[in-house]
């Protein structure tokens, strides 16, 4: 099955395609045979003794044994550990309700900020943008956010947003921006200096030295979704020369 999975890496697969665990007809008696283990990521599900594709997309592989389906989506589904940009919608008792773009609003405790105690409450009002990570996110429970990591430090999370613009893009573009050697990000660095916050729920926040530059960067990122690499480099070059 490993080999049949490896054969189809970088192929476009549809929901319903399956891989079965084929056993070899002959097992060698002289060499030690190790059991194969494959780690299945998003888009692949195990059903009995078969591996079924449940989302349409491209099969990706990370050695040694991780496989997943790369699919394009606009709707975010909360997952533990992901950092997202949320909008505070309500304050009820000791918790804030935060809209992260999923099917349910997430809750954020007021103690989940760096240096927050019962006497020293964080300065959060309804309508603020927060950059937080999920500490609980599964299909059965209400998602919970925290603005600090496990050691109690903020590490970039918390309330932010004055003077910038938040907009929504597809999840695929966000993953491309966050990948280690992102071409889109390196192209963006050649333009104006700006501050960029990337939420894995498809929300981006941009702030640059003037409102016009902020809007230009926001429009460029939104149009990056549908362009090939060639067209994107061409467009960025035109902006750099000041044509737009």
């Amino acid at each position: 099955m490993f080999s049949s999975l490896k054969q189809r890496v970088e192929d476009v697969l549809l929901a319903g395609d399956e891989f079965s665990f084929e056993t070899d007809d002959t097992i060698s008696l002289t060499e030690p045979v190790k059991p194969e283990k494959a780690v299945c990521g998003p888009g692949l599900r195990r059903s009995g003794d078969r591996l079924v594709v449940c989302k349409s997309g491209v099969l990706r592989h990370k050695p040694p044994n991780v496989f997943w389906i790369d699919s394009q989506q606009r709707r975010y589904v909360p997952a533990k550990g992901e950092t997202v940009i949320g909008i505070v919608t309500a304050k009820s008792g000791d918790m804030f309700k935060v809209d992260v773009g999923g099917s349910e609003q997430a809750s954020l405790s007021y103690l989940a900020f760096e240096g927050a105690t019962k006497r020293n409450r964080p300065n959060v009002v309804v309508g603020d943008l927060v950059f937080a990570q999920f500490i609980i996110a599964n299909k059965d429970m209400e998602p919970e956010l925290a603005c600090m990591d496990s050691s109690g430090r903020a590490s970039g999370m918390g309330v932010f947003g004055a003077g910038g613009l938040m907009f929504t893009v597809s999840l695929g573009l966000v993953r491309r921006l966050l990948s280690p050697h992102s071409e889109v990000r390196s192209d963006l660095e050649t333009l104006f200096p700006c501050e960029l916050v990337i939420g894995m729920n498809g929300r981006l926040w941009v702030r640059s030295s003037s409102i016009q530059q902020t809007l230009i960067i926001a429009n460029l990122l939104q149009s990056c979704e549908t362009m090939t690499a060639q067209q994107r480099k061409e467009l960025f070059r035109r902006v750099q020369q000041g044509a737009l």
Binding site: G16, R45, G57, V58, Q72, R75, S103
Partner: protein, 220 residues
């Protein structure tokens, strides 16, 4: 799969589709079969009212808007057919206490409307990235007064037929997921129509595969 006998006509009208054409829904598609054209939009998984939520799976709501006028009883029965097919193929238990909404707008009806709705619905669900256990497609067959079987009939052919059947076929085992029939026909004719529909569904599934391949080859 059943055997197809000689006197049947497995030819479909020209079909085409487009995905991600609407900006607000999470998934959208437009499917054209000959002159029949349907546009679909999917929203979800989204918030649901507490009165409508189900604790262990997502709730799917289908709305079919006709080209002219308000939805009537005919649209309600078509919605039920589409909803049952979608519920059978979507993995609803992965999103408990959420809602999925599928809205189908009829742009032009020239026969085979229900199968065009099913195809548009499947493409929109794929575009939205919802987890599915299999894909499905819709095929319509009409039996003429002489006993000939026509696939993908036009509105004129549907009017003159003595029986009209629509089947939803799944992609993994080519089995019938849903059937909606009108008119009088024998058991043998029904089995023949099912065989013809299964054969026609191959073309549609190949088309799905090609269009998804084209879509993913663009953005790299």
């Amino acid at each position: 799969m059943m055997e197809v006998s000689g006197s049947s006509n497995v030819c479909l009208r020209e079909f085409g589709c487009e995905q991600s054409l609407l900006s607000r829904p999470d998934g959208s598609s437009s499917f054209v079969q000959g002159d029949t054209s349907v546009m679909a939009g999917v929203y979800g998984p989204a918030e649901v009212k507490v009165s409508k939520e189900v604790y262990d799976r997502a709730v799917l709501e289908v709305l079919i808007q006709p080209k002219v006028g308000l939805p009537s009883v005919r649209e309600r029965s078509q919605e039920q057919c589409v909803r049952e097919t979608c519920e059978a193929s979507l993995l609803l238990s992965l999103h408990p206490r959420s809602s999925l909404t599928l809205i189908l707008q009829v742009l032009h009806d020239d026969g085979s409307l229900l199968s065009c709705c099913l195809n548009a619905a499947c493409m929109a669900l794929m575009d939205a990235g919802l987890p599915m256990s299999c894909l499905f497609c819709g095929v319509t067959c009409a039996i003429t007064a002489e006993g000939e079987i026509i696939t993908d009939p036009t509105a004129a052919q549907e009017k003159e037929s003595r029986a009209l059947m629509t089947f939803a076929i799944d992609s993994t085992e080519r089995k019938v997921m849903m059937s909606s029939t009108k008119g009088s026909f024998s058991v043998h004719e029904l089995q023949q129509c099912i065989a013809v529909s299964q054969k026609a569904s191959e073309k549609i599934f190949q088309f799905y595969r090609d269009s998804v391949k084209r879509r993913y080859s663009k953005t790299h």
